[in-house]
Symmetry: C2
């Protein structure tokens, strides 16, 4: 049990800070903030505050905020487990994509951080390598494999970017209402399929449906 020691800790934010910080600690603090309260909450001031350190201290470890965030995405990417199983290429590829999808749900800020700037660090490319191995072993040419991976990557990251992992019953009802009340003359196909459409707008099941269509398509292009 922790007891108040003789030198019971004085003002935490005042005396010169003796603790040795590491880039990793900073990056982890940033990820915790970003994943828990959204990327916009991961400000330099709040990251420093979470570490009990002055704001400017962060700038001795990273040139600027961009460099810090780059290191953070990299760290998150390195935490993806690459499933190591055998079996048919389609099953292996499906397992890999599901694992990536899971990790994006666990670290939602990674999706936003990887928009626009491709992340080409070895840690981030482990998943690409795993995918390319499976595809090339399955018989796809290098060019076919590269295109197939791009499709799988974009679908998986795009799904996380545009689909909330879960949504309240109230929100779902609201969406359904909005779709069902569209004028039937202008929107015959959609207003009649409001329930079905809402089912695809959140959660994980719709991800699987799309992934299986993509795998169907890849299989078809392989045999032809």
């Amino acid at each position: 049990m922790a007891r108040a020691s003789a030198s019971s800790s004085a003002k935490p934010g005042k005396q010169p800070n003796t603790r040795r910080l590491t880039r990793e600690e900073i990056v982890e603090a940033a990820l915790v903030l970003a994943d828990r309260e959204g990327l916009e909450s991961a400000t330099m001031r709040r990251i420093a505050q979470a570490l009990g350190v002055g704001t400017m201290t962060l700038y001795t470890y990273f040139r600027d905020k961009d460099e810090l965030l780059d290191a953070a995405v990299d760290h998150a990417a390195a935490s993806v487990d690459i499933p190591e199983q055998g079996g048919p290429w389609r099953v292996r590829l499906r397992g890999l994509m599901k694992e990536i999808h899971r990790s994006l749900i666990a670290h939602p800020s990674g999706v936003e951080l990887r928009m626009k700037r491709p992340l080409l660090s070895p840690a981030a490319l482990r998943t690409t390598e795993a995918g390319m191995q499976i595809l090339q072993a399955a018989g796809f040419t290098k060019a076919q494999a590269a295109h197939a991976w791009r499709l799988l990557f974009v679908y998986t990251f795009g799904y996380s970017a545009f689909t909330p992992p879960e949504v309240s019953v109230r929100t779902r009802r609201e969406w359904r209402r909005l779709l069902a009340r569209l004028p039937a003359e202008g929107f015959p196909a959609l207003s009649g399929a409001a329930d079905e459409a809402v089912e695809t707008m959140s959660g994980e099941a719709a991800y699987d449906h799309g992934l299986d269509r993509i795998l169907d398509g890849l299989e078809a292009s392989l045999s032809s």
Copy 2:
């Protein structure tokens, strides 16, 4: 009782602004800024400045910045041309997705703005309706059509979110170098396919490749 004529004070930025603003003008100014200089440049201060108006004036037309940006995405979504052609479902669907893809390249800020919050306005749902019509006429059930549309939507928006429309030769060479120099023991499949991978990381051609695989997959699930 304003008499401007008596005092011929011609301070250009000073006299009360007589111009009647509309929500549409504001929204268009915001889109021009966002598309030309990036979403982060579309600040309330700069939008107002572009219109020659005080910052706070914008708040008489929109409750806050979120409401203004919502109106902006809606405006951009309304500008998508829905191709009105006949022919086989696969050709029609392909034309529709290509048109959406084109509009996202023209208004890149729309992609980011639609992340996380689904846009359920009639203007934005026109494309969904068009897609659902094609799919249901092709013989897909409502549930199949909804899933198919989600897949096409996520792929198309995700592609724009994660793929720069064009990239300098210098950048491409840099990417190629990074991939080719990966340690061959850890990255045999990727380091050997650096050229092919780089080809899929920008531009429009890779979008078509992925789209065709998706259409293959949908066709397969229809005939089964």
